[in-house]
Symmetry: C2
């Protein structure tokens, strides 16, 4: 390895040279940096000296042991008990737009229903010509579609209505995931049962011990809802509704009934518990919004962020994050380094799908001074992600749902990040 | 559940009615079917009676225990020893176009290198102005891109040159996966080092005990190659090259060097072991093709197939499969039920990306008679997937690589499938 010994400081040019010029100390002093005499270069590493595990070692593969810190996490004070709780996607450690199946956040009302698919049934009843019961095998005889959608819990960022509460985007924005679903358009199954005159709403019911139910307008059901049985190519995971989940694109996650066992067709909404006492927006004047189905356009910088500080010092730095809208695609994301004085257009990278996560990047030379980072999403309808104060002016601070306000991270001169608000 | 009791045979209409009319016995007699008095309907299931596991049960989630048959598999007679071997993606059990990370096939030459990313380095040397060594943190300061690509081993279907050998598409076509990669365009890093006049080829080297190497034309490297660190949003899996893999879109998988530790720039190919004695196409006349980089357009029906027979009897039946091309997108897939007498255009569903898997479906009413199923891919260059005989006429039967011939499954009247060839 002599061709690199002793040359590092002198040889880096362009992109990396900028880094060293601006902050050579911070960039080259880190334990992770490649240095002359670095044993990672001069010594033969263990994995080069001996054979590794063979192909029969793991018929279903898992991440490296060096990635064991990348995991779903819960917040102790959000856990009323062991079975009704929430954990969060580690969005600060992910990239691209696909969420890996093992890291999708969970929100259950009676824990995970562990279902034998051979004994699972879907019933269609109510205002239909013919009530029907389907096995999973029956359902898989209908034409399938493959589409990528985000799912965001209505309560994502909900703790932040009254000000910064949770120090990390995993906790403030991690009730979201983005998956490729394989499923049957719901309209095929409703056509099979035959809708009676007056049919206007559906009630979707879960097979868990909570028997979770939500009312869904028929128009949405016939438009783009799916009966999904696969996520990212394989069967749904138990915590995501195995063997069958209702996909309600762009709408709040609570409506995406997991472990789907029954769809009743009716002429009006049912006003069940999870759409009255919960999952309604309490306004400042004490009234509530009856339904708030769509998830408005939103974005967040995932790195740097409180759980993902800048560790390399000044110089070339990458800001990255995610943006999404329940009403279409993301047209643009703006990023500010100074709390909104100057805005820069971020670079979107990766496919742009309707009602799907979008990934943005903003590359710049950090001068090492403190920053106030924000991102702002603009969706394909022209809607601009609002400030938290703009939201509060309309809706007060009593809601626990639908907070899509602009998030601010304060970065200090050491690269550490904190959840703050500015006005 | 009385609204469905006793009505099944009478109530199914349209799509499902067709099934019952054509083969009521087979469709309704199956153990999986929903029947009057079915205890799955009339009895409260265990998962509705008790709380399930909470959110702290699995910080990194896994599939249902009912999916334990969905796994990578190896073939005993393809295993020369425990560390140099191959296993296969269970493509007959997957849907959509994304391969879940735990099920991507493996092919190692010295087992899986288990690398500490903090001690991993990438060196750039040879015909460059400045040899460079990068830590993983250094690399992550370059601009990233997100793209979805298939990776197919050159030897996929290679055992089939002399005729049907393996009874299942997992084994005949399962050395393929399709992932969203996050990575740094290789050109950024080469620009940083500065290419000297005469630079025309790269040698990419692995950090495993085999120190796997392949020669890659500079033109390809500057075009679309990536230094990938993430797959489907999370860090690469160890068996897929953690922490760094070279992505060489559309080209044979052996060139996608895993555990990438070094890139040497030179003026000609190196002719290393894995591009001379292996991974070259031996022709019928004893000569070999020097390099065969691109993977030609190919497709396979994944269900029904020998490992995924038709179990529901006659009636509405779905044929599904995957198609791909190393030269672009898939423009069309044709399906035949009668060994090529009549061809039907299949339905493509899901996003169409350059050098990515495409998913196709063909829905039809099966009359219960034996079939000879084939699929035929046409890519965006107009290339048509050839028959195996057409390939053999040009290339003989001595190659173990680049067999993209049309696959035939014979389906018997019970729905069982077998790997056959017809001429």
């Amino acid at each position: 390895m002599s061709d690199s010994d002793g040359r590092r400081g002198a040889t880096r040019r362009g992109f990396i040279k900028g880094a060293l010029a601006a902050g050579a100390g911070a960039a080259s002093a880190g334990a992770a940096g490649a240095e002359a005499g670095d044993p990672a270069i001069t010594e033969l590493q263990p994995w080069m000296r001996a054979f590794g595990p063979g192909v029969d070692a793991s018929p279903y593969g898992l991440p490296s042991e060096h990635e064991s810190h990348v995991r779903r996490r819960y917040v102790e004070w959000l856990r009323p008990d062991t079975i009704s709780a929430v954990n969060f996607t580690p969005i600060h450690q992910l990239d691209g737009i696909i969420t890996p199946n093992g890291l999708c956040f969970e929100r259950h009302h009676s824990g995970v229903a562990l279902i034998d698919p051979g004994r699972h049934r879907l019933m269609i009843n109510g205002l239909v010509d013919t009530p029907l019961v389907f096995t999973m095998e029956d359902l898989k005889r209908f034409p399938r579609e493959n589409r990528i959608y985000f799912l965001e819990c209505a309560a994502n960022s909900g703790m932040e209505w009254r000000g910064p509460q949770l120090n990390g985007c995993q906790f403030t924005h991690g009730m979201i995931h983005n998956l490729m679903y394989t499923g049957i358009p719901l309209r095929h199954v409703l056509d099979e049962a035959g809708l009676k005159p007056g049919a206007k709403w559906l009630l979707a019911e879960s097979a868990d011990a909570a028997a979770m139910t939500r009312s869904i307008p028929l128009e949405k059901a016939l438009d783009d809802c799916l009966l999904a049985f696969a996520m990212n190519g394989e069967a749904l995971r138990p915590e995501q509704g195995y063997p069958l989940r209702l996909v309600v694109p762009g709408w709040e996650g609570n409506m995406w009934i997991k472990w789907l066992r029954r769809i009743e067709v009716g002429d009006r909404p049912w006003h069940q518990r999870e759409e009255t006492s919960k999952y309604t927006d309490l306004l400042g004047d004490g009234r509530t919004r009856r339904f708030t189905f769509e998830m408005d356009a939103k974005s967040v910088i995932t790195s740097p962020s409180p759980q993902a500080p800048i560790t390399h010092g000044p110089g070339p730095t990458i800001i990255t994050g995610i943006a999404w809208s329940g009403r279409g695609t993301i047209a643009r994301v703006d990023v500010t380094l100074d709390g909104g004085v100057n805005w820069h257009t971020a670079r979107l990278s990766g496919p742009s799908f309707d009602k799907s996560l979008h990934r943005f990047y903003f590359e710049f030379d950090w001068d090492g001074r403190p920053m106030l980072l924000q991102s702002r999403a603009i969706d394909s309808t022209g809607y601009v992600q609002p400030t938290k104060d703009a939201l509060r002016a309309v809706r007060g601070v009593s809601s626990g749902y639908h907070n899509n306000g602009i998030q601010t991270w304060a970065i200090d001169s050491e690269g550490r990040a904190e959840n703050v608000e500015i006005s």
